[in-house]
């Protein structure tokens, strides 16, 4: 579903340091070959030599992205048993299942860089790894599920389309698969809201309330302003990031305004207006203190989300153990029969 700020330092690792100069002539040649390929807009594959900083940045970004997909199942999962009709329930189950699949594509891509699933899960479960802070807010009514599809997935698509051209092959291929599926997520959310807007005054008020609560959080999903984004420049140089946070945010605002008009809701920003000169919408200031507070663990649902994930993982341990024991038993039996 999402990335946000795309590449936030994990709890322990701190900010990315400048890339160290190559140690010797061999290293310099490898570095030169890598740089040439990046400059030619070529792709890097798992077996290719790559600078440590590139590898670390990708592991962090892809694993954070994977964690976001997995934790992102929770806010919507809350509504599966309370969906207003069988049709909406089936749609929501399919969407949540997609998010699980997206997590798997991304974990697999990260594993090609030499990290293990276990290490990544441990980083998430122990609270060291970050995931998109958007999931640390509650889904209070049914309209929230629609708004997550329309705005949160919409923002995610805006972020993810350029990642299909990422310089690291396995990440780019995973993102192509994710983006194909993501379009259904946004459309189902928007359509669910359209139906509510044709309902009672109370239902329309629910939609407006959900939009009011999610709008600013969606704008923050694109990450800190370019001027304050420590990783962006290096990410751009490496062809990992293609379009800056502020540019993506602007595209999202411009795309969403007409959609809100058709839907019949207002976006909760008094400063939002068309700027004829820029040919873009101007919008108000984002509350970055609130964003960082949530990223740093103090959002309304941080503790609950992590606890739910850890519990699900631990409760599933016996299933994983049993499957492995069964596989080993079958293998032993086959060997015995062959002997």
């Amino acid at each position: 579903m999402y990335t946000q700020a795309l590449d936030l330092p994990d709890g322990r690792s701190g900010a990315l340091k400048a890339v160290a100069p190559p140690a010797d002539a061999d290293q310099a040649a490898l570095q030169a070959r890598f740089d040439a390929r990046i400059d030619a807009d070529g792709r890097i594959e798992p077996q290719d030599w790559m600078p440590d900083g590139y590898r670390k940045t990708l592991v962090r970004q892809i694993s954070q992205h994977a964690h976001s997909e997995i934790v992102g199942m929770l806010p919507e999962g809350n509504w599966i048993s309370r969906a207003p009709s069988l049709k909406r329930k089936a749609i929501l189950i399919a969407k949540v299942q997609d998010e699980g699949g997206h997590g798997l594509y991304l974990y697999s891509a990260a594993e090609t860089l030499g990290t293990s699933r276990e290490q990544m899960q441990d980083a998430l479960h122990s609270g060291r790894a970050k995931y998109s802070s958007i999931f640390n807010y509650p889904t209070l009514n049914w309209a929230d599920v629609g708004v997550i599809g329309w705005l949160v997935d919409g923002a995610a698509i805006m972020n993810q389309i350029p990642l299909c051209r990422c310089s690291y092959g396995p990440y780019a291929r995973a993102m192509i698969r994710v983006c194909k599926e993501e379009s259904f997520h946004q459309r189902q959310g928007y359509e669910a809201l359209l139906v509510m807007m044709q309902g009672t005054a109370e239902q329309r008020a629910m939609v407006q309330d959900a939009v009011n609560r999610w709008w600013w959080k969606c704008l923050a999903m694109f990450g800190p302003p370019d001027a304050a984004s420590e990783h962006s420049t290096q990410g751009m140089r490496w062809g990992i990031k293609r379009i800056s946070n502020d540019d993506l945010r602007q595209r999202f605002v411009d795309a969403t305004v007409p959609q809100a008009k058709v839907l019949g809701v207002t976006l909760p920003d008094p400063d939002l207006k068309w700027n004829e000169e820029r040919q873009h919408h101007d919008y108000g200031a984002i509350d970055w203190d609130e964003f960082w507070s949530t990223v740093n663990g103090n959002g309304p649902c941080n503790k609950e989300r992590l606890a739910t994930r850890v519990k699900a993982h631990n409760d599933g341990q016996w299933v994983r153990d049993a499957a492995l024991a069964h596989a080993q038993k079958q293998k032993a039996r086959a060997l015995k029969e062959a002997a």
């Binding site: 399919a94 698969r177 599926e181 341990q317 499957a323 492995l324 596989a327």
Partner: protein, 99 residues
């Protein structure tokens, strides 16, 4: 919060999907599974949720032998100077038409 208990990792499998009869199986990703049967079922759930395939192969990743990127020069370069292997190497008079 309960710390995560140590996880014995399931082995890694590579997944190949035939999108329709008449086309080849194509690599589409990987996943962890305890055995081949489970890998097939998971591959179905993960990679064919929208009828993307009619047949799936799963192969233990550890059994794949790959060419080394460092040998790329010696391994693939010999083909680079054999341009006579391509049909466009040969000039044929226009009046012959398509050949």
């Amino acid at each position: 919060m309960t710390p995560t208990t140590a996880l014995k990792e399931w082995p890694l499998w590579e997944v190949f999907v035939r999108s329709k009869q008449g086309l080849e199986h194509k690599h589409c990703g990987s996943l962890h599974a305890a055995d081949a049967q489970q890998a097939l079922q998971m591959a179905r759930d993960v990679y064919t949720r929208r009828q993307e395939g009619v047949s799936i192969w799963v192969v233990p990743s550890a059994t794949i032998t790959a060419s080394a990127p460092d040998d790329k020069a010696e391994f693939f370069e010999p083909a680079a100077d054999k341009i006579y292997r391509h049909p466009t190497f040969y000039a044929i008079p226009d009046e012959v038409g398509h050949m």
